[in-house]
């Protein structure tokens, strides 16, 4: 494989609380965060897998980038365990409270600081904020083409051909390097971290951290002061009142009772 075909790639990842473990306190009506495990954002795993497949095919390098508190190192460790070469954590108190605008800005500055990349990957969205804004936002900041909800990608001589999933089918797009790709959830089977990968992730120097000054961020443009939106309040969802007629016991009888109910409702 000639040197020139090697790809320099970065994948932006985030550590998120496991959404299925989040519960609402039935009395206080607030979100129970205690004891909730965290995980790497699921669609970021698909982004990593897509990047790793390109790396397997073309060679090159893959850097995992995350922005957040030190515990986000877990996500970087997973990425390196899977096969990323190194990890960078952009961590700074000044970044706290950033909405998607400063987040895209900070990640873009970090990418510029870290070098030239052919492809910047993101997951389609995170499970904790589910905006899908950061990928396109980075493309805007870096003035790069963007392909979102991508399920397949091929690179040849600097040309990119990618399939994106849309509501009514798939679209095939062509563009050139460099670009930003956001990866559709569920499009591939993310590989498991390997033992040697995990050991590598723990080796000194593989995961590094940078702060706002390192990447040249203007403190006014990040964090709460740099965020145009504010969360005014969080309201607990009052689900529609359900009658909740739940049967159990012998299947035949239970089904009869259920169907009687459905019939009374005019459903069957």
């Amino acid at each position: 494989m000639p040197e020139s075909s090697e790809l320099r790639m970065v994948v932006c990842i985030k550590q998120v609380p496991k959404a299925e473990q989040l519960k609402i306190d039935p009395v206080k009506k607030t979100l129970v965060r205690e004891g909730v495990e965290s995980e790497i954002n699921p669609s970021d795993l698909h982004a990593l897998e897509m990047a790793l497949q390109l790396k397997d095919k073309h060679g090159g390098s893959l850097l995992a980038l995350s922005m957040g508190p030190p515990r986000f190192i877990q996500a970087l460790e997973t990425a390196i365990g899977m096969g990323a070469d190194e990890g960078i954590l952009l961590s700074d108190r000044a970044l706290g409270g950033s909405d998607t605008l400063p987040t895209s800005h900070a990640l873009s500055k970090a990418v510029e600081h870290l070098g030239d990349f052919d492809i910047i990957f993101c997951g389609e969205e995170t499970t904790d904020s589910s905006t899908g804004h950061v990928g396109p936002g980075m493309a805007a900041n870096l003035d790069l083409p963007q392909l979102t909800y991508v399920v397949e990608v091929e690179v040849r001589d600097g040309h990119v051909r990618a399939k994106r999933a849309v509501e009514d089918g798939f679209e095939v797009w062509e563009t050139t390097l460099p670009l930003v790709i956001t990866v559709n959830h569920g499009c591939n089977h993310p590989r498991e971290p390997t033992l040697l990968g995990k050991i590598k992730a723990r080796t000194i120097g593989i995961i590094d951290d940078v702060n706002a000054d390192d990447v040249g961020l203007d403190k006014e443009k990040i964090g709460l002061s740099g965020s145009p939106t504010v969360v005014d309040k969080i309201e607990t969802v009052e689900l529609p009142d359900r009658s909740g007629r739940i049967y159990s016991g012998e299947a035949r009888e239970a089904v009869t009772k259920l169907l009687d109910d459905l019939e009374a409702e005019g459903i069957i």
Partner: protein, 340 residues
């Protein structure tokens, strides 16, 4: 004078696809109309394309006061960069205080790109809007997989931008007599503005996506169905109920079901008359996509499963016994119901 004070009006991005305005956009015209009326301002549409004037007229009939029509060969089909460039120009020229897009995949990626150039706030996938006392837009969206609703505001900058979830807002009546202005906008676009091209479109075999969203009855399977084959039985139940089959993220991840059949936060939001959840534990992300169903029927062997908390009806037990029994008994009841 602050920028906020100069901005006025509500603008909706009119997204069309192939031969029609997308339903999400039409629904948003209705919601935009409501917001504009509360504020006492005009509702405009931004329509980008080539040879799309007919959509401008149609959009007005749904409730717009005016349409900014931007026609250019480069805009003939959607592409993020040129569309983003034009939207930035339009917003900077007309300074709407509110800019809304349907939260379709294209709507989300377009909004996610051009709000950065406008350096304003963007709330994603909103399911409700309110106007605050200070005449700010309260952009309400599900948070944490639908367990709570976040009220997001953007007080400092304009426009206040949001994408709105399709199939949440009611589609407005079309009034063929309604008149509005169509303002042709001139933009300079050249080859340098094209950074990516769509070269092929592969439609789903049948319009399954719409079918799931339109279905009156959805029979959905979760991890509890244990194997892909079980969908055969679920399909049979769907058939006798006159519905279609869907599933949770887990079964899609396991490739037991195609992605476009996925219900939930990363899949589709559905509101059928009846949603039958089979072997679905009820992870918040799933509930987010179906909790507004008219009636929810749950079948699960775990009495503690979250799904029962939002179910109207249900059976705790072995789905492998219950589902075939349901099919049998429904068939049994049918002839009796039909007049001879």
């Amino acid at each position: 004078m602050s920028r906020a004070k100069k901005s006025k009006g509500v603008m909706v991005f009119i997204e069309f696809r192939r031969d029609h305005i997308r339903r999400g956009s039409i629904q948003l015209i209705g919601e935009g109309r409501r917001i504009a009326d509360i504020l006492g301002v005009k509702l405009s549409g931004a329509l980008l394309g080539h040879g799309v004037k007919k959509y401008a007229k149609e959009a007005i009939q749904y409730g717009l006061d005016k349409v900014h029509l931007v026609e250019h060969p480069i805009l003939a089909s959607y592409a993020a960069s040129p569309y983003s460039k034009v939207m930035v120009e339009l917003v900077e020229k007309y300074k709407p205080e509110i800019m809304l897009l349907a939260a379709t995949k294209n709507g989300r990626e377009l909004g996610g790109r051009f709000y950065v150039h406008l350096q304003t706030g963007l709330a994603a996938d909103c399911t409700a809007f309110r106007v605050s006392k200070g005449k700010n837009l309260v952009m309400i969206r599900p948070a944490f997989g639908g367990k709570s609703l976040a009220h997001i505001m953007c007080k400092k900058t304009r426009p206040q931008m949001a994408t709105a979830r399709p199939n949440v807002f009611t589609e407005p009546e079309r009034d063929p007599k309604r008149k509005g202005r169509i303002i042709k906008e001139n933009v300079k676009l050249g080859p340098e503005d094209v950074d990516a091209k769509m070269v092929q479109f592969i439609a789903h075999m049948e319009d399954e996506a719409t079918r799931l969203a339109d279905a009156d009855v959805i029979v959905a399977g979760g991890h509890g169905i244990r194997k892909a084959d079980t969908f055969g039985t679920l399909q049979e139940l769907a058939d006798v109920l006159g519905g279609t089959v869907g599933g949770s993220r887990k079964v899609v991840d396991l490739r037991w079901l195609s992605k476009d059949r996925q219900v939930g936060q990363t899949g589709k939001t559905v509101r059928p008359n009846v949603y039958v959840a089979i072997g679905i534990s009820g992870a918040v992300q799933h509930l987010a996509g179906m909790q507004e169903s008219e009636k929810i029927v749950a079948i699960n062997n775990d009495p503690e499963a979250e799904i029962f908390k939002i179910a109207d009806f249900g059976i705790v037990g072995d789905l492998f016994e219950i589902v075939p029994e349901m099919i049998r008994q429904i068939k049994e009841r049918r002839p009796a119901k039909e007049p001879t």
